[in-house]
């Protein structure tokens, strides 16, 4: 690592109260993001990607960080004063969300909502903030920004709304932009445009991206490093080229196999992974993936640790332990 990390998450544990007792949505998650870097977080629905990201910003709502630490530029954020966290949000770490339509306040113009991101952090005269909002909207490629500042969210398309969200995120030039599945709600051509925009933003401003997705295709296009999550745990991490090229973990393998390729026949169902992510209240003992794993064996009854399988690379699977042949699972296909 050339530069010290911007964000360091270490052994994070997030607990939610539920009527049936507290559940740990995320446990023992560690990762880091360096300045200007793009780290992708992948995993099926319910694996704890959003919860991990929201924990960084202190936006868990009913949940709380029950253990571990989150450091931003070396400063501990777990247990930091609420006002300190507030000042950090938007200004240093911004976040955009999956559903742009519901993520914008329907009662205010988009210009208002962009300008607000500035005015909540800096004493900015209303006129200046407004002018800057127009500039930001132009930068994110909203057509006719002078007129569009006065539009309400419902007057924009989904892609335009997400551009507005990005403009809000960029308002204070944050060092880190967290994107929680920013293109899941958009159609494919719009998705490509938004990804282009994010790439350009990153190049122009040197913003680090923490990019949550469950689309392996997006990972390979956008990210430097990737973190694979399953059922509240990190199961594999490493550089994108290595992880996608030679996945160490059977779960990563299965995720990669479920990417449709142009050769995938249209009428055959996607080779999705059989079964579903277990809920935190009903965690299988041992390896959390073992009920669905094609390479399940005796040792999976106890949970494997993250094995280092290369520089900056680790995988949580007994297959890497000494005595087990082969450190990658290249031959394994997902079951469909």
């Amino acid at each position: 690592m050339p530069s010290p990390p911007l964000l360091e998450v270490d052994d994070l544990q997030v607990r939610f109260p539920t009527p049936a007792g507290p559940i740990d949505a995320v446990s023992g998650v560690s990762f880091s993001v360096s300045p200007g870097e793009t780290v992708a977080v992948v995993g099926e629905s319910g694996s704890g990607k959003s919860v991990s990201a929201l924990a960084v910003l202190g936006l868990l709502g009913a949940g709380r960080v029950a253990g571990g630490s989150v450091r931003f530029r070396g400063e501990e954020l777990v247990g930091a004063a609420p006002d300190r966290l507030r000042r950090l949000r938007g200004a240093d770490i911004a976040m955009i969300f999956q559903n742009p339509m519901s993520s914008l306040d329907p009662l205010f113009t988009v210009g208002d909502q962009v300008a607000e991101a500035l005015r909540e952090h800096r004493r900015t005269p209303r006129r200046t903030a407004k002018a800057r909002a127009v500039e930001l909207l132009r930068e994110v490629g909203l057509p006719d920004p002078e007129r569009r500042v006065r539009s309400y969210p419902h007057e924009l398309s989904g892609g335009q709304q997400q551009r507005v969200m990005i403009a809000i995120g960029l308002a204070c030039e944050p060092a880190l932009l967290i994107c929680d599945e920013p293109t899941t709600a958009l159609d494919v051509t719009v998705e490509a445009q938004i990804l282009d925009l994010l790439r350009r933003v990153q190049r122009d401003h040197g913003t680090a991206l923490l990019f949550i997705t469950h689309d392996m295709g997006v990972v390979s296009e956008l990210a430097d490093r990737v973190l694979v999550m399953y059922a509240g745990r990190v199961v594999e991490h490493g550089s994108v080229a290595e992880v996608l090229g030679a996945p160490g973990n059977p779960y990563t393998r299965a995720l990669i196999d479920s990417i449709p390729t142009p050769a995938t026949p249209r009428d055959v169902p996607m080779p999705a992974i059989a079964g579903s992510v277990p809920h935190a209240s009903d965690m299988p003992s041992g390896c959390r993936f073992h009920p669905r794993c094609p390479r399940v064996h005796d040792r999976c009854a106890t949970e494997p640790p993250l094995h280092d399988i290369g520089p900056g690379r680790a995988s949580r699977c007994w297959l890497h332990a000494a005595g087990t042949a082969g450190s990658t699972v290249a031959g394994v296909r997902g079951v469909g």
């Binding site: 910003l57 936006l59 709502g61 507030r86 000042r87 950090l88 949000r89 938007g90 200004a91 911004a94 976040m95 969300f97 559903n99 519901s102 993520s103 914008l104 306040d105 329907p106 009662l107 205010f108 909502q113 607000e116 991101a117 909540e120 952090h121 309400y152 419902h154 007057e155 969200m165 809000i168 308002a171 204070c172």
Partner: protein, 319 residues
């Protein structure tokens, strides 16, 4: 926008006409008329009574009476009271401000307190304060306003040996006297609305506070004040506005009983007495007033709705 208002006013006029005709006819179907009630036990002969009826125009068939009355009303003449002989319009205009003051104060106080309590309850969700607000809200919702008034009256009399002045003085003559007199009725009228609005505000604030757009506002690093008062509260107002319309009906109905109880000379008292006396012209005029007030309020609320929510403004609703 203007077209919309005009159209709503047109609908309103039709509603008022229908209500008027309905009350006009119903009143005449109720047994007993003004003449027989007035002349009870006076020993006046049937022939004389009939002559009086003819004088009031009560001998003609109902539809003829209605037709004649509508003709007069179109010229701005709402008739004269069978009792005092004074023109109804005059009688009426004297009393309208009293009821409007009473009702408006009750609605405004109820709305402000209701919203305040609702916001506090939502922000302290699950706490003792929240529980208290919810308990009182249910209590006030289930107790009729005249009972609240009686309880207040009795409580103040027993514990503080205080009771409101008996003789009504307008706010122009004696403000403190007026305030003392209307305090209990205003509170009694307002509490029901306050309770309903507090509950509604609480639940829509909670919904709003858990929404995606509030998460965005928080992710911007907005101050708590901005989150709560600008975004969450504003998004809760549409629900509250809807309630205010319903509240008006309760408040106006309440004035009829409470004005009677507290000797407040407003339209509520007027209509109450007029119904007992079968003073048809007065009853009909009061009905028009209440219906008109209601129609106007609904239009104003609709406009406020559009003012708050751009989705309604740009939608088809107002074209």
């Amino acid at each position: 926008m203007t077209l919309y208002v005009l159209r709503r006013l047109g609908y309103g006029a039709v509603v008022m006409l229908l209500v008027t005709v309905f009350v006009f006819v119903i009143m005449r179907l109720v047994p007993g008329d003004a003449v027989s009630l007035q002349l009870q036990d006076t020993g006046v002969s049937a022939a004389e009574a009939d002559a009086l009826r003819a004088d009031f125009g009560l001998d003609a068939p109902v539809w003829t009476q209605l037709w004649l009355w509508l003709g007069d009303a179109a010229r701005g003449d709402l008739g004269t009271s069978f009792y005092s002989g004074a023109p109804v319009t005059e009688l009426f205009l004297e009393r309208v401000p009293v009821t409007v003051q009473l009702g408006l104060l009750a609605m405004v106080i109820g709305a402000l307190l209701g919203v305040a309590f609702g916001v506090v309850a939502a922000l302290t969700r699950g706490s003792l304060v929240d529980g208290g607000v919810r308990l009182f809200a249910v209590a006030f919702l289930s107790v009729p306003n005249f009972v609240v008034a009686l309880l207040l009256l009795t409580g103040l009399a027993i514990w503080f040996a205080w009771s409101p002045p008996i003789v009504y003085t307008g706010p122009g003559e004696d403000v403190t006297g007026w305030l003392q007199q209307i305090a209990i009725p205003v509170l009694a009228l307002g509490t029901g609305g306050m309770a309903a609005i507090a509950r509604m505000t609480r639940s829509s604030m909670l919904e709003s506070l858990g929404s995606d757009y509030i998460r965005t506002v928080r992710a911007k690093g907005a101050r708590q004040r901005t989150v709560v008062l600008k975004h969450a509260l504003r998004n809760s107002t549409t629900a509250v506005l809807t309630l205010l319309g319903l509240e008006l009906a309760t408040v106006l109905g309440g004035t009829v009983i409470l004005e009677q109880m507290f000797a407040i000379p407003g339209t509520g008292q007027l209509i109450y007495q007029a119904v007992l006396d079968r003073d048809y012209p007065v009853v009909v005029a009061c009905t028009i007033f209440y219906a008109g007030l209601f129609v106007l309020t609904i239009i104003v609320l609709d406009l406020l709705y559009a003012l708050v929510d751009p989705r309604i403004r740009t939608g088809k609703a107002l074209s």
